[in-house]
Assembly symmetry: C2
Homo-oligomer: 584 residues x 2
């Protein structure tokens, strides 16, 4: 088994002496990366030479010999890449498997916001992530979720108050308070919001932002509290305002959401030091196809950015933003987080070193995988009070409001439509209309809550789908053409401890358990990717979901009551425009 180091504050003169002697060639280095073209993000140029490593730290750059010598064969050596904002859970992978997936693409540090699992499992979920993170060579720094629950209009699995935030912030692997999505709360001086922000400020920790479309005085009020970053800028104007007001702007290139391509055009030599790269939400398929931060850097270069500037955004700038003074560059005294890449156009990754250890090579993660025990975050589906009659939707009129899906978007439209009412006075699926029932079943506290709505634009015309990934409270979302099939999907989901279930013709068609909080698999990324692909194909081909819609990732946002226009939570149908519940 390969070993790797974690940064710890246990420096001694013995460690320093060895490093000093290696730097001066007085003793062989632990490892030398020979013959590299080294990208220098400080001086913005490229040097040819060897990199000498001592106890995981770079001792020097020049001509060196070592106990272990690895020939870079003229590859470019760039600093280990940093994803400045990501939710691991969106990959459906555990931290261990997420590390195995992304390290071969050159990612060596991520700033993770475990917002999803904490919404389900609370502090227990946070601790699980911290522990699991110790089992991957990827260095995972955490932010404490700031908005759990995300809104008062739904039941989540947990509440993280300001006092708990203050406690969790003290962990040595926590660098700050995660994206403060409740920007309305901030600019309206909600006391609990401000207490959470104060907790971070008083511990001198960073605070991430999330303020789509907030401009002018509102944005300044938000920033005046010390909120330091934003990954939600959708226009160059928003980006420029954010930078001018002192923010670091994270250019996002996730599986679903991308502002990177728009914002690249706003990057100048004068503002690039305030720009970072992030993925926010990434599924395995996207990473296997396009890479991770290395893919973003490639996109930046294709978009006209100088390669070294793009590399700075994915390394030094992120390290500076989050106060990670031990990394972000290839230079003496920094962590030996080093990526070897063929060229500075494709950014194909050949080898990845983390803390001086060769950790990935030609796409393969080298350390042996061990797994954190998941029992504390398993068995998260609690729906004893659920019964199929809770899905009955009695209507007084054929004229209804339906949630209208916009392909490729998590914003929905409120659609007025006419539906068929059965003899029992309840909604009845009519194959002539693309309108189906959608239900959100509370799954954390056995409340028995079920919220009902109607969905159009999804296309399903057979069977049912049920999932436990339901932003941000992660209740169960079920859609289907019959209550019976929806019930079967829901109950099967409960039996397998969460995940995804497809039902057709009264039988389970396919399923993927997600035992970790109902959000993450215990399997590897390739298995998860294959399962998802098979499930999506079945949803399209067997159940009739429209081919231009991602069946699962679209569905899981239908319960998020902070994104317009119409959504459904376990408490009922919610009009986001008016911020109030509404009738069908």
């Amino acid at each position: 088994m390969l070993l790797f180091y974690k940064t710890e504050l246990n420096m001694t003169h013995d460690i320093l002496r060895k490093r000093i002697e290696i730097a001066q060639g007085k003793r062989p280095a632990d490892t030398v990366i020979k013959n590299a073209k080294i990208v220098n993000v400080y001086s913005h140029d490229i040097t040819e030479g060897d990199i000498a490593i001592s106890d995981g730290i770079i001792a020097g750059i020049g001509t060196y010999s070592g106990v272990n010598e690895i020939n870079a064969d003229g590859c470019y050596a760039i600093p280990g890449l940093i994803d400045s904002h990501i939710h691991i859970e969106s990959s459906f992978l555990s931290p261990e498997e997420f590390g195995r997936m992304v390290v071969p693409f050159g990612t060596t540090t991520i700033i993770a916001d475990p917002h999803e699992i904490v919404n389900v499992c609370g502090e227990e979920g946070f601790r699980y992530m911290l522990e699991a993170a110790k089992r991957t060579a990827l260095d995972i720094k955490f932010m404490v979720p700031s908005c759990v629950p995300c809104s008062p209009f739904e039941n989540s699995g947990a509440v993280i108050d300001a006092k708990t935030v203050a406690e969790l912030l003290q962990n040595e692997n926590v660098v700050g308070l995660a994206e403060f999505m409740n920007y309305v709360g901030v600019i309206n001086s909600d006391e609990e919001c401000l207490n959470k922000i104060s907790a971070a400020l008083n511990q001198n920790k960073r605070i991430d932002g999330h303020a789509p479309g907030l401009l002018g005085a509102g944005r300044q009020a938000y920033i005046s509290t010390g909120i330091l970053t934003d990954h939600e800028c959708s226009t160059i104007e928003e980006m420029q305002q954010s930078i001018a007001n002192g923010m670091f702007v994270e250019l996002r290139n996730g599986s679903a959401c991308h502002n990177l391509y728009v914002l690249i055009k706003g990057i100048t030599p004068n503002n690039s030091r305030r720009c970072l790269l992030c993925s926010d939400d990434m599924q395995p398929v996207t990473i296997f196809e396009n890479g991770h931060i290395n893919g973003d850097i490639k996109a930046c270069v294709e978009g006209g950015l100088d390669p070294i500037t793009a590399i700075q955004m994915g390394s030094l700038n992120a390290a500076e933003c989050y106060g990670l003074t031990d990394r972000g560059a290839i230079s003496a005294g920094k962590r030996a987080d080093i990526v070897l890449t063929d060229n500075l156009t494709d950014f194909n990754v050949r080898k990845v070193f983390i803390n001086g250890t060769l950790t990935a090579e030609n796409g393969t993660y080298l350390p042996q995988i061990t797994k954190q025990d998941i029992s504390a975050v398993s068995g998260s589906v609690h729906i004893d009070k659920f019964s199929s009659d809770k899905l009955r939707l009695s209507l007084s009129s054929q004229n209804v409001k339906a949630i209208g899906i916009i392909p490729g978007n998590i914003v929905t439209k409120c659609i007025n439509a006419a539906v068929t009412i059965g003899d029992d006075g309840c909604f009845q699926f009519d194959p002539k209309h693309d309108i189906v029932k959608i239900a959100v079943i509370e799954r954390h506290h056995n409340t028995g809550n079920v919220g009902l709505g109607l969905l159009t634009g999804y296309g399903i015309r057979h069977g049912a789908i049920a999932i436990t990934i339901a932003h941000d409270s992660h209740n169960i979302i079920a859609v289907g053409v019959s209550d019976e099939e929806m019930t079967l999907a829901i109950k099967t989901l409960a039996e397998q401890g969460g995940g995804i279930v497809l039902v057709k013709d009264g039988k389970v068609l396919d399923k993927m358990p997600l035992p970790i909080a109902g959000l993450m698999s215990d399997k590897d990324a390739r298995t998860v990717e294959a399962n998802l692909k098979r499930i999506n194909t079945a949803a399209h081909e067997q159940l009739g979901v429209d081919t231009y819609i991602e069946p699962i990732s679209t569905l899981c946002f239908m319960s998020l009551p902070v994104i317009p226009e119409l959504k459904v939570t376990d408490k009922g149908l919610f009009d986001v425009r008016r911020f109030e519940f509404t009738e069908i």
Copy 2:
């Protein structure tokens, strides 16, 4: 009396609420700076508008009204300036008076290394500086001196070992370990050196460097320990190596030492973010004539640098280097440390705000001055065992080695010369030769140590001069044409508790007490400047010191045994080239 704030980690939601409301114009600001041209060091441009301030912090930039409105009259608003490395003691002023002097020039934060007073008074001196610093609006962040004593070849007043370093680093106003001058110790892995460095690394504090001429593997070894800055680069090559290896380079423009003018030519748009400004050692006369950091910025602009880049070097870059995340720019959420200047060429300072309070206006510091009690650092001259016969220099040969002054330089030459020997077999001053006796008298521990040497190139031909400023151990240095006059100067110095004494014709000609550790006056800068000017004039005109030599500031480096070639300490004549004591 005007009040000002000190940054403290006591944020509450009340403070934030007020700031948020002010940012949005929902209530009047405490103070508004109206009609400014605001220099934005993030976006590298200039915005016209008002700056709203809440409890000392900037709430927003735009159109605001406030309880207190101050019209900037179209002046440029630039961030409060930061001197990234300075020894306050070299100004001969206490921290309170230093603040009064530099704040009107736009300096709002300094990173101070109290190396001199700590060499005299040890921890007591450090604590005095911390306490005195609380009495000035200037925000003084301290570094813990790393090299006390400076060398083993002299007696200093105190020893600061690694354990003490670790303790002092814990103070909240301490940002790191001061310039590690003993770079030879570092690259040779001296255990005590490495223990001090470890102490700083383990507390995640910054470490300043000082490594003149150290290049290649040696520089990398030095940097590999985490040493982060250097202010001793004398060539563009040295600067480029330092930046490429991850250092911040401090361009120095002190009273005596300037590398700024050379290094400006090496600054590029790609490396400027790693460049800072510092003064290291500044006397009042230089500040009153040329300004402080504002003068450096002016010099940068005259040297061809873009004004906003130069301002970044004197603000944002220094804040980033030292982890001062609360300052360095004019933007919402940052400390309202703001300087109003007429233009971006001369950088004449009109008004200075510190933490939102108007602190200086048209050259005048506004807060009332209160003084820290100096009794703990007074009475620092202890020479009970001194007697004039200790100055007798018996010579076996007329052929001697003399310390040869090089005008404008602290490096000396070893000069071979012939001198006159008196009937008593001792050196005797001969008006035909420019060679006088120089003595270093230990003054901390009553050891009775007196080191003797000969000095040429100084020009003194009447009387004697004695001072307690004697880098870095700050013993007494005396020069003169007769033992009697030297003795009178030394004894008068002891009676007045240190400072400067001039003797002519057997009588005291002039004197300036420096009661604070024998290094600093308790008077204001204008008084000190006038005294120094009068004393220097007297030394030139009455005692005959060469007019192209600064009588006092040249003399006080004659005991520094780490600067070539020949120096004298209380232990004797020292050949710096061989690093050993030598015979006259």
